[in-house]
Symmetry: C2
Subunit: 417 residues, 2 copies
Amino acid sequence: MGLPTILNQLTAAANGGSEHGKILLSLFIVLAAGKLMAELSERLRQPAVVGEILAGVIIGPSVLSWVQPTEVISTLAEIGVIFLLFTVGLETRPSELFRVGGTATLVAILGVIVPFLAGWGLLSIWPRHSWIEAVFLGAAMVATSVGITARVLASLGILNTDTARVILAAAVIDDVIGLLVLAVVSSLATGHVNYGHLAVVAVLAIVFTILTSTLGSRVIRRVARPVEELRINHSLLIFGLLLCFGFAAIASLIGIAGIVGAFLAGVALSEATEGTTLHHQSEALMEFAAPFFLVNIGLRFNPAVFGSAETIWLASIVTVLAILTKVIGCGIGASRLGLRSAIRVGVGMSPRGEVGIVVAQIGLSLAAVSDAVYGVVLAMALATTILAPPLIRLANQGEAPTLAEPAYEDELRGDIG
Amino acid sequence: MGLPTILNQLTAAANGGSEHGKILLSLFIVLAAGKLMAELSERLRQPAVVGEILAGVIIGPSVLSWVQPTEVISTLAEIGVIFLLFTVGLETRPSELFRVGGTATLVAILGVIVPFLAGWGLLSIWPRHSWIEAVFLGAAMVATSVGITARVLASLGILNTDTARVILAAAVIDDVIGLLVLAVVSSLATGHVNYGHLAVVAVLAIVFTILTSTLGSRVIRRVARPVEELRINHSLLIFGLLLCFGFAAIASLIGIAGIVGAFLAGVALSEATEGTTLHHQSEALMEFAAPFFLVNIGLRFNPAVFGSAETIWLASIVTVLAILTKVIGCGIGASRLGLRSAIRVGVGMSPRGEVGIVVAQIGLSLAAVSDAVYGVVLAMALATTILAPPLIRLANQGEAPTLAEPAYEDELRGDIG
């Protein structure tokens, strides 16, 4: 054994496994690259999230290969988007969510129907595609991925507007509908439809959503005081974290997105914890972990998706349709807020993400979807994610920050010595 | 494909992989079990950390097997102890560290020599052990693992005492010495000693430590203002996180513990960021991640270690010696602080951890150490970790909190609605 081996073991010794040294370095690179590109984006008057996603593309396997999309990074990414939605939930009172409930339901339903019909229709007239492939493309265009929008709205300081509330409430409903659409489409592809089980899942998802957003807040207002009197330090933060991860885990196990659970945990806590440090503490957690969520999107970008000219064409058309149909569908749903706000809602609902990709993956595994269409869905999910932030920013120009993050930050920050 | 499969895929769909649902659940269980046991410990007038470690034993493979010590958990554990030492570093001014530098150096050196001699001497007189095995046991008893002590001192609110400063500074020096001891011992076992390389590693470790704790603070005071003027939100927190992970990664790559780098990053930032929200933000990060560090210790507990009666005997003697030799060695080093404080320092330096275990692992891999002695080291590391917190608490009874965490928390917390 030569000294290099010993040195490796020394590194290992100091860290309990040389893996830790490498992991620390990759965490540093993700944070540094993400925030450097975020700063650059802001200076070019683009949303920070675009920079963070591009940072992932640059440091990831597509370009420099400095960081791989490992399980550790993807778990931190999941934790990041969970803290993001939890923090957003903390700023959202249940009553405000219910006030826009009718509009949000309409937004969610029309925002599912219109994209589905567009995706289905497009592949039905496009040459060489089966009806089931057309159905799968429609289903893959349904589910909004609200993480990106939440991040952009928060950084613009306009979470506290009706537009933002409609988007958030609609995204929760959209997720439950998306679950059902996926179940139906999968059943169609396999020929097995068990409506009993389907109904159970639907009922569970709906009951969980309604219970947490109604009873949740009342129960928590009762227990908040005893929680504060526990012996452990920072008991309120610990309580919040337990609700956040507990609800996220339950949501996941029922079949809706973990972030929906985290958002509802935040909403349930919002009134009881107003004015406490929990809000600032959850922001710190979000600031640490959210870059992993955003950079990870870029890390997982695969340029091989754009295999042929036809794929690029189809992907471009699907992306435009994906955005337009949410703007039109959700916009009509939100029309009573006025034209400008309706467009803001539609644009805010346009990013797609994991759910669409997994719909296409299931289609692929059932041989209902071709590699080309799977690639188209991947490209559409990434393109809508990248295109949405500038569009959201554009649509919200002139909207005064009602919950100004920078101002609140200054107030807390104190002076630098 | 039946509906159960579809339901699995639905869960997968909602999470981008059904793995995420399971991971969220295990994170919830770790947090919930850790904090429940922490609360219970506090009520039994035991330190919270003991409860958190025991929680890991209970939910881990030894008892319930609800949670496995996966790579994700161990990464969160590493992040947890990094945030812990970073937060402790933020409360420590470089000038205060230098003021106790002489005492700390003496504490570190005597706290290495005395345990080494004891471990070596014990196995030399114990039947059926080679001289090299005795040397390895001595080396495995050298390195203090400061994470546990830092956590206990912080929760007692006495980080801001000379005792605490001596412990922290001595732990940094101890880590550098531990690195060199390991290198020498490994060289002895293999017969290859490359003093040139050894010197390079030593110089790198010492230069890094001195540079960051001297120049670091001055440089950071210069850049803090421009950092605050960046466009990205929470730029000071981001800057702190980058230093924390950057220094931790550099320390790891040189061969000293990542937590030493994180601590030095905190120290370098402490003066420039005094009175800013960075301190509260890093505490939030620590509160989230530290339970993973503590629970993970319990998760990795292996009852198979106690194979035979002789092993249990030897492990008990080694554990008592491990604590006594640090109390005596470090105590003599700290004698000019007075007897009570000297004992506090010695007890605070007594927990051993990863480094000792890895020394034994290397010995095992070189066939210099038997399975039995490896088991003894494992048991000693765990036993000192569990025994130290109550001893630290006992030794510090009557010490008034100078930096009262609960008080500071109240001040920030505001009222619950």
